[in-house]
Symmetry: C2
Subunit: 515 residues, 2 copies
């Protein structure tokens, strides 16, 4: 009920295409954009919450469709020509907003799907019912209870946060971009560039059908610069530009014990225990400093050049704050700061499961033990080859590697058996050179129009399917993330800090004003 | 409905105490007992199924009480004086059936509680709704569907099985003992010994209140020989006598990463991953041959004497059949047969859990990793000292060991933190010498009255709280298990082979006839 009045306000900012493209000075862009936002905070958040309220796990086809309809509608309100286009999986949404004399065509990549949710892990709220909290949920701290969304003359505080799945990853950029366009127009600023947007519906599944979509719809997507709007800004909250992202591949390893759980008394220290075998196997993959011991794991990495290494050195360090925030003192590779560590490929255990825990725990020898592992790739690493290196390692540790559940004959032949299944949708890393002219123009636009020089990151630690844009659209792709670094992306209690959303509107306005 | 007629049959075998103790020849005991069973199969199974239908997880107080009432009732039908006696936890049931000129007083220990259940893991049946199957559920084999329980003139086949929680562990001995008494009386044989029974309601929780009960009710429990009726017979199904059992202690180890799950891209190979740390820690505890590498782990074991070692050598080997049955080829300590392996203490991982699996899997660095471990103890090992050896080992591996969730200060001070919580209810092993005169008399009774020399096992691999009987009752304690070895004890699809139940009636009759 609290948003009913706001709908009227929202309707004021709906424009017809005829109003586009009035050339005006971009000076004082940031103040104008901020004024607009201050006057429309409640309408902006209302539209955002409506979007967040539609569940968006990729497998939930019914709700995925509702997301596409809603997004099409709010883009069309701004004058975009929008198409919901089929792929073998979830549809992509492509929108275009043309201006009369465009300097360039800018393409924004955003995804509208979100990570799977475990509602029971959320604190006093549900993944798809956004709540506003007057601060951050922190382990051990007193929980900031949800507060009502402001009405009337009430304003938002920058440090308040909205909690819901996809607040940070990745629905905020949709709202921020549309609001930036509203603000530019309302304040009489010049939209100097054609704006295109592509919205992926399966990014959290590894974007399996994005290549299909880019190939099929490439004429619609023709553009000069691609902005990947996903992931968090740098820790200081300043506008952040990244020139690449790690790739990813995942695999699952299952080690076998008896074909059924066995009583640990009658068979303990005789029947093989798969949990200890898998522990020994995983332990053989990394040393205590976090170095991956798998043969050849680092061989194919393309090193950064001098300029890029210099850029890394200029990033303000934030490591101690992060350790304090997340409550740990030791890191992998103690000598290396975070921003250097993420320039290497990683091997990370996502999960390890064997036997039952909690009330279901019983004194048995488990039948199987399974670990899932993700490997983040850097430029030069091929997903399939990296998986093969793991397979080779597992074999060198004495395991017979299979790809399907072992049959009786296999079980009776090999004392050590590992089933390894690799994710088919892994993809390689991308990274464009720091001295690319377009990169320099983007830095200039952000510096001049938003008041801050962006933090420049050669490669994001997270993964984005940038390679498909490079391969299919032959485009310059950069990352322009907006979420707070502590947005709990991919986890329970995902959130966005309100101040980051406001800043995102200004940053998006800055690049759309780019000359 | 199928059991309605049987109730009438059952009533025939209800005796008054006056009918007890007619001295008669015990010759041909086994044939007499078998004749009785053949004539009353349906009534025996009906009573058994009624008992199995009452859920018996120790925490389920309401149903635990229903079990006690039911068991009291069926014991009283046989003339037992039965008391349901309070303890700080679940009650114990103590029953006594006196004869005029008893040779000895025999005390039977049985437990009426069962392991926790995960109904979803059961195949086409529910833990507390017994079903009859015409064979054994085997991985990969075609599933023998439940069949109706016999009625009218139909007989049971020895290879049929009844599936339900506690069929094997440990409700079958209740029915087998009562039926043995029915058979002895009906066939006019001599019940030469006073029979006492104690039923524990918390054995699967480590019998925390059994010492209390034995101390408080010791005058009621005064006896010459204790039969522990739990666990499986030897693999060949012959009557089995064990002279000890391993003790047990359990512990849980939690290793810490960040205080919340973290995105594995943004933080992978920098933020510490608890799953790899715990894998490395567990890997340090055992070598690939299954030897425990924890300092002093084997030091306190009291070795078997020559006679006991000889007895072990005469046990017919069954190792290859077990490997084939449970589908594995390699064992811990490849050189040692099963019956020798279980004479050593074991360290076994019951469960390992970190991150989410299946549909909830996401590419994160998990916040914690937890393993539960059980340690089976042999004579000489003290539970607390064995746990301390593990704690010492964990510290030697560089971990700061805590017993409660670490606070921020602890997290920021120690890069490696392990929370270790030990089960309070662990207990030590027991083992009586093979040349104890009572042991020789029992062997004679079984050999003469049931037609088979029992398989003699110096110590069971599983754990039983024999020590409490020794400490509080100063009694000779031996084990007389009856379940089939493949009864899926402690797991889903727990079952008893019908032929084993029939054999149990004969074995129990044999010892109650003991002169």
């Amino acid at each position: 009920m609290k948003h009913i009045i706001i709908i009227a306000i929202l309707s004021i900012i709906i424009y017809s295409p005829e109003m586009m493209g009035k050339p005006k000075s971009t000076k004082k862009g940031i103040e104008n954009i901020r004024q607009y936002r201050l006057a429309h905070e409640q309408a902006i958040i209302k539209e955002f919450c409506d979007l967040l309220s539609i569940p968006n796990v990729a497998e939930d086809k019914e709700n995925i469709q509702k997301n596409t309809v809603f997004i099409k509608q709010i883009m069309e309100k701004r004058g975009f020509e929008v198409q919901i286009l089929e792929t073998p999986g979830n549809p992509v949404i492509i929108g275009e907003l043309g201006v009369k004399k465009p300097r360039n065509t800018l393409l924004f990549y955003i995804h509208y799907d979100g990570q799977p949710v475990t509602p029971s892990q959320w604190t006093d709220s549900e993944p798809f019912k956004p709540v506003l909290r007057p601060g951050k949920l922190e382990a051990g701290a007193s929980v900031p209870k949800p507060i009502p969304f402001p009405t009337g003359d009430e304003k938002y505080n920058d440090d308040w946060r909205i909690y819901a799945r996809s607040t940070g990853d990745d629905k905020a950029p949709i709202i921020a971009l549309l609001t930036a366009i509203d603000a530019i127009r309302t304040q009489g600023l010049a939209l100097n560039n054609n704006i295109k947007v592509i919205l992926d519906g399966e990014e959290e599944n590894g974007s399996p059908n994005l290549p299909y979509a880019l190939e099929k719809y490439k004429s619609l997507l023709k553009a000069d610069i691609l902005f990947m709007c996903d992931g968090p800004t740098y820790y200081n909250g300043e506008p952040t530009l990244f020139l690449g992202a790690r790739g990813i591949t995942s695999l699952s390893i299952t080690v076998y014990g008896p074909n059924t759980n066995l009583h640990s008394g009658h068979y303990g220290n005789w029947a093989p225990n798969p949990a200890i075998k898998l522990s020994q196997l995983l332990a053989s993959m990394k040393d205590k400093e976090g170095n991956v011991l798998i043969k050849g794991f680092y061989d194919s990495c393309i090193q950064l050049n001098t300029k890029e290494l210099e850029a890394v050195k200029t990033i303000p360090p934030f490591d101690e704050e992060i350790k304090d925030l997340y409550g740990f003192s030791g890191t992998d590779g103690e000598q290396k700061p975070l921003m250097e560590s993420i320039l290497l490929p990683s091997l990370n255990i996502n999960s390890f499961h064997s036997g039952n825990t909690g009330k279901q725990m019983s004194t048995i020898i488990p039948s199987t033990a399974t670990a899932t592992i993700d490997i983040r790739l850097v430029k030069g690493n091929e997903p399939a080859k990296m998986v093969q290196r793991v397979v080779d390692h597992v074999e060198m540790q004495g395991f017979h590697v299979v790809t399907n559940e072992p049959d009786k004959e296999t079980r009776m032949k090999y004392p050590y058996i590992a089933k390894i299944t690799a994710e088919e949708n892994g993809y390689r890393a991308s990274r464009i050179p720091i001295d690319t002219p377009a990169v320099q123009r983007i830095i200039k636009a952000i510096s001049e129009n938003s008041g801050s020089k962006p933090v420049l990151i050669p490669s994001l630690g997270g993964s984005l399917p940038i390679y498909v844009f490079e391969d299919y659209l032959h485009i310059i792709a950069v990352g322009l993330p907006i979420a707070n670094h502590d947005n709990n992306q991919h986890q329970q209690n995902e959130n966005i800090r309100v101040g980051h959303l406001w800043r995102a509107i200004e940053t998006f306005a800055a690049v759309t004003l780019m000359e």
